[in-house]
Amino acid sequence: MSDPVLDRLAVRFEELLPAGAVITDPVRLRTYECDGLTHHRAMPGIVVLPETAEQVAAAVRLCGEYGVPFVARGSGTGLSGGALPRTDGVLIVTSRMRRILEIDLPNRRAVVEPGVTNLAITEAVREQGYYYAPDPSSQQVCSIGGNVAENAGGAHCLKYGFTVNHILGLEIVTPDGEIVELSALDPGYDLLGAFVGSEGTLGIATKITVRLSRTPEAVTTLLAAFGSIEGGGEAVSAIIAAGIVPAAIEMMDALAVEAAEAAVGCAYPEGAGAVLIVELDGPRAEVEHQFAAVERICRETGAFEIRVAASAEERAAIWKGRKSAFAAVGRISPAYIVQDGVVPRTALPEVLAGIDRLQEEYGIRVANVFHAGDGNLHPLVLFDDAAPGEGERAATVSGRILDLCIEHGGSITGEHGVGVDKSRYMPKMFTEEDLDTMQLVRCAFDPRSLSNPGKVFPTPRLCGEVPGVRKGVHPLVESGRAEQF
């Protein structure tokens, strides 16, 4: 099923890229057929592995020349199918662009290539007392380029914000193959802010300047076990009401705890209906002060066991269960769907009760893991793919959880992105006008819709020519020499 256009394109890529950087063998191509979301699969037409921004730009220009769509991929860990390839297109993989180009501690920044892993940045500066704040659960493997595309979050974004709050500059290859530098220092529209989180639809980041944060003086991690999810939820509300913004507040329900126990033997308290992990960091004096308050609140709201990590090892032990939770669910269920929805924190109890009702209605188990501090739910919908009809029921439950989130004024995704998986929910969250307006941005960057088409937006939209007039000559010259006119 060879495609003559792709065949010709492959020959051009071979001329352009280093040896071994163009993959056309079908057995090899198929290993790229999905990212971290495996139920969407498509064998890419061609895979290329560029090593420089110039090579990325040249590859993108070639795609443009042949009118072939392209998709960027980093480590392939995304959970919304954002890097799902196109069978009629090219997959541009950044895994060979993984140099840390510059570390500039006086200005608290580092310049890296997109294939560098999130954690590698922190590891490069940890000894000097700095770190890169956003910490998605996959931080040891996910690429910073992917983080930029998805605006990755993580457990600690409650206090420190998301990827977009930590990007100081980007070099991007636009969908027409131009290399453009964007800086947070620049006046003008916040293109940096628009690009981060655009899921590869506005181009490919080839160089990324990240903000480095100072390692906090003190970190305290507390694990509290509650009889029920409600008890844990009450503690979360009380902590926020006390004016405390912890670095992270994570909650797991009994089923999620059971999975984590099976996978990594995290030894969380037995019989817990919910486990709450609260991490406080900052100046020692402040942390001590807040810790006392958090501990008191947990006791008052009914925690039956509280553990405090006294060392980095103990902290890692507490986090181990939480960080492994997604993959760990594989131990207690043959198959599962990881959902990602957000609700206003105050709506959490209602939404969790709603999820309970869905479990009963459909006879499907749901394990709940969530960033409780910001209302970001990660329900894990469990099913047996060998049991007839169960997969469909699980998918229904998963979808109805998103409906619940929307009904309560939340969002269909807090950090995994829309990708190919959730584009059909976009019209539930946004009006036709909202989506058309977003499309204006897309059209400004990528009028031919070649950059990761079919993602984020539910239906393909054509851009058309810009209506109106005054193409070319602007009434004011850039330099501002207005008096010439």
Partner: protein, 413 residues
């Protein structure tokens, strides 16, 4: 390739950064996740293509991915099953076949290895020539350490002081020929900690080399089990990471053999030296050893056996010894059993990478629990020309401390 084991992989990618070949090449097909995907393609009916076989061959079998995997995928089993399929179904090029036959005819046999030691010293000088004939021959020549004085171990070493246990000791094919002093140190340390050490003189290869290459290891396994059953020991202590990990797999290897072999295998208490010493608890006094040590995690110890903390604990307990961690400690040095012989190119790249990280610790001595690793890293450090480092086995460091020999006693270069 068991489809049920393949299904356990949820494609999360946590294995990628720990995989040596992914670290080198950044390609999906050369990562554990990609290889599992290739396995599933095969299960679904794709024949073993040369490309596919190449990606399986490129796997070092270091098992770092097994440690990293949060879903508990048994990649170790999968790759062993896969290698057997590749051996069966894939026809290799003639010269590649010849090299493989040579290695498998040589390394599992101590006597053949001994006979080879002299010609190999010669080979070191002939390396450029060998390199041209076949890179694998060049790699073999480069790895050879300086000849060691043969050490003859008695069949039984008696415990010093009160006897606390009777243990068997595996001497290892490569270890006993190229690092006999490590075996001597191991026996002394065990004795000083109160163990009677039984060293069956006619022990053969444990089968590690075959097992890790997809060949039939059952014959080796049965012979080894019989040897140690006859020895009448409570545990078998192994000081070679690769051997220890394969002996711990005997029950799996022999599960379909009639004659209760699986049960017999399970009854054999196989322990790595460090693992055993920590279980036993120290009694012998430690003398100060003022030395800086960089500890290298051998893959077959750290990943295959999960023994990471014990050697560090033992080293830290030595007064005056400073322990330093090596960056990227979870990534393989490229030795990986026969890997540096069959895949000399990537093995060399990984060796260079590891050597850089080891030299960066500026330690006095590099300590590891696998002779293959020591040879590989020492060769890479020599090659780099940026400095060398003494190399020692954990047993030698303990021996030096227990006997109060001082730091100078440790390892040659």
């Amino acid at each position: 390739m068991d489809p049920e084991l393949i299904k356990d992989c949820v494609h999360c990618g946590f294995c990628l950064p720990t995989c040596p070949t992914y670290v080198l090449w950044g390609e999906e097909m050369d990562s554990p996740r990609g290889r599992i995907h290739l396995m599933s393609q095969h299960v679904e009916g794709t024949p073993v293509t040369p490309e596919m076989a190449g990606h399986f061959d490129a796997c070092l079998g270091c098992m770092a991915c097994v440690t990293a995997c949060p879903s508990g995928v048994r990649y170790d089993r999968l790759i062993e099953q896969t290698r057997a399929v590749v051996e069966r179904e894939h026809v290799r090029a003639p010269e590649e076949r010849a090299i493989r036959e040579l290695v498998f005819a040589l390394f599992p046999y101590r006597r053949r290895l001994r006979a080879l030691r002299l010609p190999m010293r010669l080979a070191t000088r002939l390396r450029p020539l060998l390199e041209r004939v076949h890179p694998s021959l060049g790699a073999m020549a480069e790895l050879v350490p300086p000849p060691a004085r043969p050490v003859r171990l008695p069949p039984r070493v008696h415990a010093v002081g009160r006897r606390r246990a009777t243990v068997g000791m595996l001497v290892g094919c490569v270890q006993s020929q190229f690092f006999p002093q490590v075996n001597a140190a191991t026996a002394r340390v065990l004795a000083l900690e109160g163990c009677d050490v039984v060293i069956p003189p006619r022990q053969g290869c444990c089968g590690a080399l075959s097992l890790h290459s997809g060949r039939d290891a059952r014959r080796f396994a049965k012979a080894t089990i019989e040897t140690f059953e006859r020895a009448g020991v409570e545990a078998v202590v192994v000081n070679v990471a690769g051997c220890g990990s394969s002996m711990k797999e005997y029950a799996e290897v022999l599960k379909d053999e009639p004659g209760g072999w699986a049960e017999r295998a399970a009854a054999l208490r196989v322990r790595d030296l460090a693992e055993y010493l920590v279980e036993l608890g120290p009694v012998a006094p430690r003398h100060p050893l003022p030395v800086t040590v960089a500890y290298h995690d051998a893959c077959h110890l750290a990943h295959a056996q999960g023994v990471r903390s014990q050697p560090r604990e033992l080293l830290r307990a030595i007064p005056g010894l400073e322990l330093r961690e090596i960056a990227e400690s979870a990534v393989c040095c490229g030795s990986a059993g026969t890997y540096n012989l069959f895949q000399p190119g990537p093995a060399r790249e990984l060796g260079d990478r590891k050597a850089r990280h080891v030299l960066a610790t500026r330690a006095d001595v590099l300590v590891s629990a696998n002779p293959g690793c020591s040879m590989q890293i020492a060769a890479a450090m020599r090659r780099s020309g940026e400095g060398e480092m003494r190399v020692a086995h954990t047993a030698e460091v303990l021996d030096a401390s227990l006997r109060g020999l001082g730091a100078r006693a440790l390892g040659g270069r």
